[in-house]
Symmetry: C2
Subunit: 200 residues, 2 copies
């Protein structure tokens, strides 16, 4: 039996934030998004996406970095893999696209860690499940969430149309209405880790 795995978390104030050009959403509606998914599925088969859980601490409580679009919708940084792309490489590419600065020196040294969850989309619908439902032989998407271990200090460049929020676990927990089923159960998925809270 392994001991708890450790995740070092540094104060939010250790990190600095700038802005960069907007990253517009590819779709303007859920219907458009599902239609694009269908077209891509016909070309490339099952969509594989990866998202990163970036952790900081405030008041010795873990917080997760979420990108806010508009005034309500929050998402984890990440995105779709290219066909054949490795999950860690694809996640680093997506994190750099979403949060890296515009020169190589301003791109964080992303350390992709433990997978904490896998979600399956059985049909071209918004519902996803933390298992591939029985009788589904051709799922349409598989999404995997990874812890991304941050260095002690980093610079993040946030697209101008988005906000980057540090949201405490206690705010996410049991809050499916606000954060949806994937993000609201991250506290449970992280509960097996020991958070080593480092105070600057």
């Amino acid at each position: 039996m392994a001991m708890s795995q450790v995740v070092n978390t540094y104060p939010l104030s250790n990190y600095s934030f700038g802005t960069k050009e907007p990253k517009l959403e590819k779709d303007t509606s859920v219907a458009d998004r599902l239609a694009r998914m269908k077209i891509n599925y016909m070309k490339e088969g099952m969509r594989t996406s990866v998202e990163g859980i970036l952790l900081v601490q405030e008041h010795n409580h873990p917080h997760i970095l979420l990108l806010q679009i508009g005034n309500t919708f929050c998402k984890l940084p990440g995105g779709r893999l290219k066909p054949g792309e490795n999950e860690a490489d694809g996640l680093k590419r997506k994190l750099t696209s979403k949060l890296g600065g515009n020169s190589a020196a301003l791109v964080p040294d992303w350390t992709v860690g433990e997978c904490v969850a896998t979600w399956w989309r059985p049909n071209f619908e918004t519902m996803m499940y933390p298992y591939c439902p029985p009788h589904i032989t051709k799922p349409k998407e598989c999404k995997r969430l990874y812890i991304v271990h941050l260095s002690e200090k980093e610079y993040f460049a946030v697209p101008k149309n988005l906000k980057l929020l540090a949201v405490p676990l206690f705010e996410l927990y049991d809050n499916v209405q606000r954060y949806g089923p994937v993000i609201s159960t991250i506290p449970q998925q992280l509960s097996r880790f020991h958070f080593n809270m480092i105070s600057s």
Copy 2:
């Protein structure tokens, strides 16, 4: 980045089930239970409990073994550690007490695997959280859930006052009303594993 960890799951029909003497609950009400917890806390400090997730498969979908008390309440097999007891040893002791046969030859070879969740009880109340809430310096209980890897065939002796159920993940998911917050989010906590479904 590690690949998905594998959990072998065998058909429910591989396992055989007998009965043994009843294991009565120590408390007859929630109030009694919380009162006993308080007395034990004063003697021994924070309660540490461990519970086992025992997996089987039916129709190539993972199922979890739950003990049912009466007609509605379900729980994972497990219980409280003795002061200073190692988590894996304590879990094996509790699993044998709940599900082992009455002779050493009839006790499964419990293989305690990965920790999948930790829950904290901040006060002498029923509410538990998947993190120690901010400002709580003396939590009253820490409960840890472990995968228990079963062998291809086993015999379980079920106390006469309890039923042992194999409940599919799709029944647990999003069903906090029936299974409570700890058991209903096990599907999310297991989603990072690859289940190797072995057909007898």
